[in-house]
């Protein structure tokens, strides 16, 4: 079976991140790898670059990784995490400009069909397009 694009969910809230991952698995199935992270090291709301990097590496697929984020800090920290990955992996990770739950479900659906990373990102971002 060919590799599929993986999904990483980054929320300020661990509950939201986990819940979104659950929704993706229930609605789309388990063939697409999903990893999630949320919250800061002290257990409060926030995002953590180290954990985002771990999630990306856990969900790694040769076809690439699409990251879904909630608010601004999650996006900034995700971009930071991508820049701190090994050079070979940096190019194959994108942060999507999409609502976190709907974007994750749509991205995973598209990924399940074998689509490329660019296509998965585009589908997730259709929701945010004008």
């Amino acid at each position: 079976m060919n590799d599929l694009v993986s999904i990483v969910i980054v929320s300020h809230s661990m509950d939201i991140a986990k819940g979104t991952a659950d929704m993706v698995r229930q609605m789309v199935g388990s063939e697409v790898k999903v990893a999630f992270c949320g919250g800061d090291p002290d257990g409060g709301l926030g995002t953590n670059v180290g954990r985002i990097m771990d999630a990306i590496n856990d969900a790694w697929s040769s076809k690439g990784v699409a990251i879904l984020v909630d608010l601004g800090g999650a996006e900034t920290n995700s971009e930071m995490a991508v820049e701190m990955l090994e050079p070979e992996r940096r190019q194959r990770v994108v942060v999507c400009n999409a609502p976190i739950v709907e974007g994750a479900v749509m991205a995973a659906t598209e990924a399940a069909g074998g689509s490329s990373l660019e296509q998965v990102k585009a589908v997730a971002e259709e929701l945010s397009a004008g």
């Binding site: 609605m27 063939e31 479900v105 749509m106 659906t109 069909g113 589908v123």
Partner: protein
């Protein structure tokens, strides 16, 4: 050529060859209409086929690409809509039959391909 399939309490379903397109119609029985979960299942199934596949939720509506999860989710066809499907390509017949079956059987879980 018509292929019929009935389920208890449902109208006759038919698929037919219509010009270069294969078409099918099926009543949407799902309790809350075409919401997100069925939409995802429909799209996933459509993507397994090579054919171009379009669907619409009524004769008045525009055809939309059945492989576009965003468009299918936006359909929000209510219960009792007649979903029309048309497909063009090598496996068009199989695609239409599969999609009609999916809707008729009320979107059962399918295993991974």
């Amino acid at each position: 050529m018509a292929v019929g399939r009935t389920m208890i309490g449902q109208d006759m379903l038919e698929t037919s060859a219509n010009g270069p397109f294969v078409t099918g119609k099926v009543r949407l029985e799902h309790a809350v209409g075409m919401h997100a979960r069925p939409a995802v299942k429909l799209t996933k199934l459509a993507k397994r086929f090579q054919a171009q596949i379009s669907i619409r939720a009524s004769e008045a509506a525009d055809w939309i690409n059945a492989k576009s999860v965003a468009k299918v989710m936006a359909l929000r066809a209510p219960r009792n809509s007649i979903i029309e499907i048309k497909a063009l390509g090598e496996d068009a017949q199989a695609a239409v039959v599969a999609l009609v079956d999916l809707v008729a059987a009320d979107f059962p879980d399918v295993g991974p391909s």
